[in-house]
């Protein structure tokens, strides 16, 4: 329904357009696209196009289903469960469950932030993520919902939509609902898309209301590392993802003139976000896996946890070092007494006197005061009490160690802890220290040890010296990518002259420590790719220095350009990366953006050489983040542990018939090669990942110059890391003009062996028949 002017007793509305219960912004000239607020089936056809090319390879992590009282049902092979479900559908269903958890987590995070910030700043507070530099403030939200949010209050309807969709998706997981694995997979994509919207809302509102860097390529540097805390001061450690309680601590310190009296340090994304708020008053300890090592060091005098990625035993670990803990999220209450309504002074007194080891406070403002006042009271008494054993205790344990191997068999990375203990028995702790660099900090070794040895603490003690020296610089999360940056790089990316955008994202479940992520970042920045980063990966990139003591953030620029290393922020900042790809389609190619998902995704898939890399992907959030990129046509690589997500989306380059796109000019179906070859891929080693990154940036629309540049990097990396030329070049060379000039001889030899024949180049490839200009079909 449209109304030029609508008058009621209380208000006058002009240019009002009402569509199925939602209010659309009538001042936005761009027409509403085909799929505003898409339902769980509206983009199913698009999903099936991708799934036809990238068929799921299921690698079940469990052979049974135990979700209902029919079960456990053995689904091995071609068996079906009591409900009729087979193994393929069950695996897809579990993937969907994981992605629903991820999407719900980010959406819940966004809802909490939005409500809190509306309470604090009002619903009319303007959304501003980049001032004049960012006209398209919410590319994902615009694309998916068709809403152009201007004020905080506009986002309620967006989150209503996300919450509804997640509920429908979760409902599809119920026994007796979906029966097709491919339909489950389509819903996985939908969960990922919803997740991107939820994350975008979360980051938009916190950037706007808290004044985080607004698309600033020169966002300031701040400190990161185990050794950054000034241990002469009381130390507050914040852990989690949802930043209001951490910000209230900073505000309280500022308001009370206690600048410099207290150290505020953080772990995981809340640390990233609190440094976006104040890079001078807050510091980052490290990624998620740094929790135990830092808590047990006794350095924190008080711990504040919010939500997500917090160890479930945080309370127990805090009690061990006699540090009070404040839980501040309704999603993570830790069994603590709710003291939200108590007077701050009473809570402070109870915590300081040890009457309570922790409290739940669901009012961020109160958390600030209680945390600061409590830490001032407890720090002098605690005297940095730690539970890291001394060397003598390690040596005694090492002598008692029976080499039963239980620790090693529990370790995700199969670290040779028994061997290190054997050497420790001789007085040499070096192997224990070395192991720490590959340790993901899970402490499963300790749970498994029949002697109850605190093996993780042994490693921390052995590596104490290097931990204390851990001081690096990280560029504060900059937020969105500027429209002007997109205008500058859009052409070179689409034409292939900037060889690709590499997004290093995700958790810290690394197979060999975070240094591999830093290595990937530098390799591709040197090669003039655009390297973007978020979350724990953004931290790991910082935690390596060169011979001159410089970190990558000090060596490489923070702008979204060739050779940049761009920290956009925390987990919820990931949509800035997706948004950059969307904005290339919208700003550079001028494709209508508003609720036009399929066409934009088709453009990104066929033209924008972007690839996500979640080298340490661990969580359900990482799964949903990846699935949001898949639907948009951006492939994702995970590390070997990512194989435990139990299904890959793999192309078959040996099946020629799978790789035909339409030429949008003529309608011809043209072989475009396996570009990109995979949509979701687990690499066994970092070398394999690096070669695959270069390969997955190849797109059908590359110009000959662009393709030659991309092939140069693919071939060069393959030769260096594999020791031989790639054997699939015939699939990527379309005409002789694609061949890198400096590699012509050797490439031609390969092509000759493969009986290569010159093919066709299409400038406007598409998977969508409706986009064919000259319709012959």
């Amino acid at each position: 329904m449209k109304a030029k002017e609508l008058k009621t007793a209380g208000a006058v509305a002009k240019d009002l357009e009402v569509s199925i219960g939602r209010v659309f912004d009538g001042t936005w000239a761009e027409p509403v696209g085909p799929t505003p607020f898409p339902s769980i089936t509206d983009l199913r056809k698009w999903d099936f196009k991708l799934l036809q090319r990238y068929k799921p390879f299921y690698m079940p992590f469990c052979d049974v289903c135990c979700l209902c009282t029919f079960g456990k049902c053995d689904l091995t092979g071609d068996k079906r469960g009591a409900c009729g479900l087979n193994m393929a559908a069950q695996q897809a269903r579990i993937v969907l469950l994981a992605c629903c958890i991820g999407a719900a987590t980010h959406t819940g995070h966004a809802r909490h932030l939005l409500e809190h910030l509306i309470d604090k700043f009002g619903r009319r507070f303007p959304i501003a993520v980049g001032g004049m530099n960012v006209e398209i403030e919410a590319p994902v939200t615009r694309l998916v919902t068709g809403i152009r949010p201007r004020i905080l209050g506009d986002l309620g309807a967006v989150l209503d939509y996300c919450e509804t969709e997640v509920t429908h998706l979760l409902a599809a997981c119920h026994t007796g609902q979906e029966g097709s694995n491919l339909d489950f997979e389509s819903k996985v994509f939908h969960a990922g898309m919803i997740d991107q919207v939820g994350m975008e809302v979360a980051d938009m509102v916190q950037i706007s209301a808290y004044g985080f860097p607004k698309a600033d390529p020169e966002a300031p540097l701040t400190e990161i590392g185990w050794g950054v805390a000034d241990v002469s001061k009381p130390v507050i450690l914040v852990i989690g993802h949802n930043v209001p309680s951490s910000i209230s601590i900073i505000d309280y310190l500022k308001d009370e003139g206690m600048y410099g009296d207290v150290e505020v340090v953080g772990i995981c994304c809340t640390a990233i976000d609190v440094t976006r708020y104040s890079h001078s008053l807050a510091k980052i300890v490290g990624p998620i896996s740094w929790q135990l090592r830092f808590i047990r060091s006794g350095i924190p005098d008080l711990i504040v946890v919010d939500e997500q990625c917090i160890r479930a035993d945080a309370l127990m670990e805090a009690q061990r070092i006699r540090a009070p803990i404040i839980a501040s999220s309704p999603k993570n209450c830790l069994g603590l007494e709710d003291r939200t309504e108590s007077l701050a002074l009473e809570i402070i007194s109870d915590l300081a006197e040890g009457k309570a080891s922790g409290v739940l406070i669901l009012d961020p403002e109160k958390v600030g005061e209680v945390a600061v006042r409590t830490v001032m009271a407890v720090a002098p008494e605690r005297k940095k009490f730690k539970v890291i054993p001394d060397v003598e205790a390690i040596l005694t344990a090492a002598h008692e160690c029976t080499q039963c191997n239980e620790c090693r068999r529990a370790c995700p990375n199969d670290l040779p802890i028994p061997d290190a203990m054997k050497v420790a028995a001789k007085g040499d702790l070096t192997p224990l220290a070395e192991i720490l660099s590959d340790c993901v900090g899970c402490a499963r070794c300790e749970s498994a040890c029949p002697n109850g040895f605190p093996l993780h603490s042994f490693m921390v003690k052995a590596g104490e010296q290097s931990l204390a020296e851990e001081k690096f610089k990280i560029r504060v999360g900059r937020g969105a990518i500027q429209d002007i940056e997109i205008r500058e790089v859009g052409g070179p990316i689409v034409l292939g002259e900037i060889p690709g955008v590499v997004a290093l994202v995700g958790c810290a479940n690394y197979p060999h420590g975070g240094r591999e992520v830093a290595e990937m970042a530098e390799e591709f920045a040197k090669r003039n790719y655009i390297v973007t980063a978020t979350g724990c990966a953004a931290m790991s990139i910082a935690m390596v220095k060169d011979e001159e003591g410089k970190t990558l953030y000090e060596k490489y620029p923070g702008d979204f350009g060739a050779g940049g290393i761009v920290n956009v922020g925390s987990c919820v900042s990931n949509p800035h990366i997706a948004g950059a790809a969307i904005k290339i389609a919208s700003i550079f190619a001028k494709i209508p953006l508003r609720s036009n998902y399929e066409e934009i995704a088709d453009y990104v898939y066929t033209r924008v050489g972007a690839v996500g890399v979640a080298w340490g992907a661990m969580s359900q959030k990482a799964a949903s983040i990846a699935s949001g990129f898949w639907r948009l046509g951006v492939p994702v690589i995970v590390g070997p542990h990512g194989s435990k997500y139990r299904r890959m989306l793999l192309g078959r380059k040996d099946c020629e018939e799978d790789w035909y796109d339409y030429d949008a000019r003529t309608g011809d179906r043209v072989y475009v090669g396996p570009t990109p070859e995979h949509l979701f891929f687990a690499a066994e080693t970092k070398e394999e990942a690096m070669v695959m990154i270069a390969k997955l940036c190849i797109r059908p629309a590359d110009t000959t110059k662009g393709r030659a540049i991309k092939l140069t990097h693919y071939i060069d990396l393959h030769k260096r890391l594999y020791g031989v030329l790639p054997d699939d070049l015939h699939l990527f060379v379309r005409t002789q003009a694609d061949i890198p000039i400096t590699m012509k001889g050797e490439v031609l030899q390969v092509l000759e062996k493969k009986k290569w024949k010159e093919g066709r180049i299409i400038n406007i490839p598409t998977l969508l028949p409706r986009l064919i200009r000259d319709r012959r079909e």
């Binding site: 091995t76 071609d78 194989s643 793999l650 687990a682 066994e684 020791g723």
Partner: protein, 182 residues
Amino acid sequence: MAIAEPWQTAEIGGPKKALVITKPAVVVAMIKKAKHPILVVGHEAVETEVGKKKAIDVIIDLAKAAEIPVVATAHIVGEVVQRDFRPAAWMPAVDIGNRLKDSKWSGLDGGGQYDLALFVGIPYYMEWVILSGLKHFAFNHLTTISLDRFYQPQATWSFPNTAIESWAENLTVIGDELGGDV
């Protein structure tokens, strides 16, 4: 039948679990019986030391003796070629897993799908899930054997958890019995 436990304690497979290889002769017999076998070698083969050799040396000798085509996964093809051995192909572990799943795959040599796939040297947990994929989706046409020194419950056949020296000896015996000079 011997009982074996997965190397990573919690990586329990089943109800259907790998049969335990109690002696190398079992593998020899399986290879001899196979019409179209293939050996998939992961990157840990070039990192694992067996006495004065690398595991990859022992495995190449075995492959030569058995005349089995080798697929090198991850980045190790250069290491393999340096040893004057030409693998049939190199490709990521998940890719060869995906192809082995497909009953209509024409194989690396055009000879059709394989009937026996031997795995070695892929990280334990990654090989675990790939073998799981094959157990569930390739059971009609493929038998899998883990040649690693740790029990892989998702294979059709697997060695139990074995000391490195015994494991190397097992591989050597397999090579010897297949007529090689390991």
